[in-house]
């Protein structure tokens, strides 16, 4: 018998048979990679991000905003692969820079939404009583107004109040900030309800009782003990929210109340496109298609994450 084989001992109990438990993330990845559509969504989203941000190396922003009215409404050609718009700007270059703005709005608005949703949901669920009643009535009040109405009224309310912003030698219309804030401020309600429900059930559990007994502060219990246990539904909801935020930006910009030119976004490139429905379909086809692909990829991804991170799921 060699030294090596002596280590192969006979299992003594059931505990020895069990393998090292997998963490939520390991389990999640095992399930996620089986989800073909989610993987496809992930790859597509990465490709779109590379298109929007890598495209900066092909065209300068100056070129994207450069208008030459003698070149207006040119159909797609080798010089302008996506054609030109009604004042002669190159549509491919504008979809690249517009994509940066649309994706930026999508992700940052969801960041705001997630912070607001977690705060409201956690406070309402954890403290209960009057705090819960006030916060939840306010949440319900916002839920009974159609979101598009709320977005349009708020876009008018804050519109034109924020000056142009200069970052990295680039000028951004202040409307980008307005849109990010109003989308974040009108979409946190569903997340707040999810977080509240999780807090309501988790705060009664023994480990929270133990934390109270050892004199842990409320702040620590909320953010270090309960919140990490609610992370899976938050991730799923936030992922799907990115798609909704990108759509919301497109809707308000399409109605002319969103991102203001010359800053391009996929939404405002579609403003007035109805006028060119038959004469210049490339005007609305490319930005519309890019919005569809982005939203589709995020929805695939979110669906995969939902299946992968569901703690009740036993499938590996």
């Amino acid at each position: 018998m060699t030294a090596h084989s002596t280590s192969l001992s006979v299992p003594q109990s059931a505990d020895d048979l069990a393998t090292e438990p997998l963490t939520l993330w390991q389990l999640g990845w095992l399930r996620f990679r089986r989800h073909k559509m989610a993987l496809f969504g992930g790859v597509l989203l990465i490709a779109l991000i590379i298109f929007a941000f890598g495209g900066s190396f092909l065209y300068t922003e100056k070129y994207a905003n450069f208008n030459d009215t003698s070149q207006r409404l040119q159909p797609p050609s080798s010089e302008h692969p996506f054609g030109t718009d009604s004042i002669g700007r190159d549509i491919l270059a504008r979809t690249i820079y517009g994509g940066q703005i649309s994706l930026f709005i999508g992700f940052v608005a969801v960041l705001i939404e997630t912070i607001l949703g977690i705060l409201v949901g956690a406070l309402a669920g954890y403290y209960g009583g009057v705090v819960d009643a006030i916060l939840m009535r306010f949440t319900e009040a916002l839920l009974i107004i159609p979101t598009i109405f709320l977005l349009l009224v708020m876009a008018k309310f804050f519109g034109g109040q924020i000056p142009e912003i200069h970052i990295f030698n680039r000028a951004f219309s202040g409307s980008v900030i307005v849109i990010v804030v109003i989308i974040g401020a009108t979409s946190w309600m569903y997340l707040a309800r999810i977080v509240r429900a999780e807090f309501l059930s988790l705060k009664e559990r023994e480990f929270i009782l133990a934390a109270h007994a050892t004199g842990t502060s409320n702040f620590e219990i909320i953010f270090y003990h309960i919140l990490p246990n609610t992370i899976a539904p938050i991730i799923v909801s936030s992922t799907l929210s990115v798609a909704n935020a990108i759509l919301a930006e497109a809707y308000i910009s399409f109605l002319g109340l969103g991102v203001q030119p010359p800053t391009a976004s996929w939404g405002n490139m579609l403003d007035n496109s109805v006028k060119y429905l038959d004469s210049a379909p490339w005007l609305w086809f490319f930005p519309g298609m890019l919005i569809l692909l982005t939203v589709l990829s995020i929805n695939f991804l979110g669906d995969g994450l939902r299946d992968a991170l569901d703690p009740r799921s036993r499938v590996i």
């Binding site: 009040a141 107004i145 159609p146 598009i148 008018k156 379909p281």
Partner: protein, 343 residues
């Protein structure tokens, strides 16, 4: 049950007050109504001052809200705008059913909204009916053939429909069915308005003009409904009473459409009941694209001119409808499912 309904109605009141206060605060800064009143002529400073007083826009926000809520016929207002209030107001306030007067058209808001509601409802209800019929058919079909090729194809297509921005499907359907069909010499569909002014507002014309907007709206709603119906049907089909029905030797048709669908329709009723009031607000983007004279367009037109009473009227109408429909849905749910008791 009666007590429950009363309780829910009473709970709705503070909710609607929060909604109206929030919206009223937001409406105060959406633009300058006086700037757009004179049309192309620029308002002179003294005219502007007079108008501000006449419209009561110089009053503090709380007073303006109070007038909007309960009217101003109990107090003196400054009707000629000279700074001295001399005659009693005529507004009765939204609580007494007076939605106010439009600043733009000088017509009562109730009349403006009343003219648009039928147009919106005809479009939205048609879309909802088309959506539900198709969603039921395909949802049941793919639930019964879970993971078949057709089910997988449908699932992928539904994802596309679910992710589709409404303007993109609208523009594409307009391009295909109006522009391309015209080029190919096929009978093509109209893209804007409710009827051809040369023909007049006949039923046939309205139906013909409805095809494209209803198609676009249905594609968007269809995906969500169909996925929902599929999952509730899948859940019901694995229940014990379905197995019992099958083992009794009942025909498959009867098991699916009587035993399963009846039980699966409960959550669907909730979904439809909660969605219906939002249809009142119309589809803002769709109505804009297809130039459909409904509530969504009324909202956009009057929001752009900061016409507070019209915009507030539309939003409060929808808010009240949402509250009422939530209660109605609960009642219908309890009526359909005898296990549910509200005590």
């Amino acid at each position: 049950m009666f007590q429950y309904v009363i309780k829910r109605l009473l709970q709705g009141i503070p909710l609607l007050i929060i909604v109206s206060l929030t919206l009223f605060l937001l409406m105060m800064k959406v633009g300058d109504p006086i700037a757009t009143m004179g049309g192309r002529t620029i308002t002179r400073p003294d005219d502007r001052e007079r108008l501000t007083r006449q419209l009561g826009l110089d009053k503090p926000l709380a007073v303006q809200y109070l007038y909007w809520l309960i009217g101003n016929d109990w107090t003196k207002i400054d009707a000629d705008g000279d700074g001295i209030p001399e005659k009693s107001g005529t507004r009765r306030g939204i609580l007494r059913g007076d939605l106010g007067t439009s600043l733009v058209t000088k017509e009562p808001v109730a009349k403006l909204i009343g003219e648009r509601i039928p147009n919106t409802l005809i479009l939205m209800l048609a879309s909802e009916i088309v959506t539900i019929l198709f969603a039921l058919f395909l949802g049941i079909y793919s639930a019964l053939r879970q993971y078949s090729t057709l089910d997988n194809i449908l699932t992928a297509l539904l994802f596309i429909g679910y992710s589709m921005p409404i303007f993109f499907i609208s523009l594409m359907s307009m391009y295909v069915f109006a522009v391309l069909f015209k080029q190919w010499g096929l009978p093509y569909l109209p893209t804007v308005g409710m009827f051809d002014p040369q023909v007049g507002k006949t039923t046939g014309q309205v139906l013909w003009h409805m095809v494209l907007p209803v198609l676009s709206l249905s594609v968007i709603y269809f995906a969500g409904y169909s996925r929902y119906i599929r999952s509730t049907m899948l859940e019901v089909m694995s229940q014990d009473y379905i197995r019992t029905a099958k083992s009794k030797g009942l025909p498959r048709r009867q098991v699916v459409y009587i035993h399963a669908l009846k039980n699966a329709s409960l959550p669907i009723v909730t979904l439809v009941g909660l969605d219906l009031p939002f249809l009142l607000g119309g589809a803002v983007v769709t109505e804009r694209i297809f130039a459909w004279p409904g509530m969504g367009r009324l909202f956009l037109d009057h929001l752009s001119r900061a016409d507070v009473s019209v915009v507030m009227g539309i939003m409060m109408l929808v808010a009240v409808a949402v509250v009422v429909f939530q209660i109605l849905t609960d009642i219908v749910y309890a009526w359909l499912d005898p296990r549910i008791r509200y005590d």
